[in-house]
Amino acid sequence: MTDATLSFEEAMEKYDPVLGFEVHVELNTKTKMFSSAPNVFGDEPNTNVNEVDLGMPGVLPVVNKTAIESSIKIGLALNCKIAERCRFARKNYFYPDTPKNFQTSQYDEPIAYDGYLDVELSDGTVFRVEIERAHMEEDAGKLTHMGGATGRIQGADYSLVDYNRSGVPLVEIVTKPIEGAGSRAPELAKAYVAAVREIVKNLGVSDAKMERGNVRCDANVSLRPHGRERFGIRSETKNVNSLRAVEHAVRYEIQRHAAVLDSGEPVTQETRHWHEDTRTTTSGRAKSDADDYRYFPEPDLVPITASREWVEELRATLPEPPAARRKRLQADWGYSDLEFRDVVNAGVMDEIEETIAAGATATVARKWWMGEIVGRAKTADVDPGQLGVAPATIVELNQMVEDGKINNKMASEVLDGVLAGEGTPAEIVEKRGLAVVSDDAPLLEAIDAALAAQPDVADKIRAGKLQAIGAIVGGVMKATRGQADAGRVKELILQRLGVEG
């Protein structure tokens, strides 16, 4: 069943959106939050676990010191206060993603609270998002629903559980209600999650790969008529795991809420699931007893105290904040304000930095990411960094162009081949027989043919109208199927016609 929606414009005319986000960040510690099992993505199921992660009776958790330090660093980077004393709590629920029937989390005493994050929108507007809290918890196992349709929980016959992710340290960052975003709410949503991702990546405390679930966003949306102070009823959309999806999900929920309110019905307070394929949400189910998690202080763990000395020691280790980093990178790379903003808005600043680190110049890195990859990512409907272009590939392709082995047009074709999984650039050039024709004989043949076909153009060039040469070069490129070096072709045409270049 498809939900009714209003157009975004109509929804904005009638209603004022209020947002809220819960962003879960997986820390990249070597081990789990409460056990010494490795925190590694992608291994054989149920091998990165021990008795603690499997919730066996009688086991005792022990807190990972590095995870605490990473959590404090995140709190500091979000301008939060760090609790002098805090503790863990049990969040009780029955669901097979946790073998313990509770998640070890924090409840009334988060490690960090009362912060803010200044988020820059695409036109340079800065929007302050208030942070309610950042608390520590553990990730749950991964369920795969089998049978039924397309792996969704609806209609599944049974589920398979891998507990490798169980116990991976998480920091959950919760915003205060965000008011005043208006029609920029979807953009702000994307920019906020991007800013959080940038911060945790910059701190080095998370791998921050959204496609691996290192950063996951639950987006709360509610609408109220313009001018009303009281918030409307909210929905919480889960499973929003790319920046584009965050933007789309908030936009969709605004349109859906508006249609519900227009029909005179109240919005149902519920969890919604985001579906990337249809770009819609569907009503989710509540976990068993979701209305009452029966939180209580975790008796197996002692409280955490963060002395002011320790906090200041950690503060001293913080890297330059992302805003300062952006300023430095722009200066280092020599990009104009507009060029740099385009790079940031396209979400390829980190990728360009990595490409430069791999050996490309700033100009070359920008040319490839902005000129070739961003467009392909848009077509494929993924974030550019997720398209699968390695910095080394760009360096290799560019070197081939500079060496005159291939031209830009071929390089673009080779990139398509790399993305299609056909191999390395060198292999694809070999396989597809792509190489600039550098032997003059076939070029001269093509030039003579082109000149003969367009005698009037040849006359113009002879008369000194050198800009007319493009028509002849075009003919030669067509005849050689783009495999000629355009520069060499020009030289040869001029030679042929006896004109000084």
């Binding site: 022990v62 010191k65 559980v161």
Partner: protein, 98 residues
């Protein structure tokens, strides 16, 4: 603190996938009621001047260094699982429960 009745016990048993007979439910409801009553007496003893405590020992910051320790093989992990498939725990579909 709320009392615990037979329906609560039946509900918990269902959530925890524990099959219980009518006699077991009766007995467990009685036993749990005694425990809840006992805990209640602690609440009565602690006045407003006694801060809530989760731990009897005045310890803080018991930490472990971030060093990888022992792990199980998939076979060891699944040893004792009621059902398994290709290295993973197999559980009933969850949607329709409760």
């Amino acid at each position: 603190m709320a009392a615990i009745n037979r329906d609560d016990v039946a509900h918990l048993a269902q959530l925890a996938h524990i099959e219980m007979s009518a006699e077991e439910l009766d007995r467990m409801a009685g036993e749990l009621a005694v425990i809840v009553e006992s805990v209640k007496s602690v609440s009565e003893a602690a006045g407003d001047d006694v801060p809530a405590t989760s731990h009897p020992i005045p310890l803080t910051n018991v930490f472990r260094e971030d060093v990888v320790g022992h792990t199980f093989t998939a076979e060891q992990s699944l040893n004792g699982a009621p059902d398994a498939y290709e290295g993973r725990f197999k559980v009933p579909a969850i949607l329709d429960e409760d």
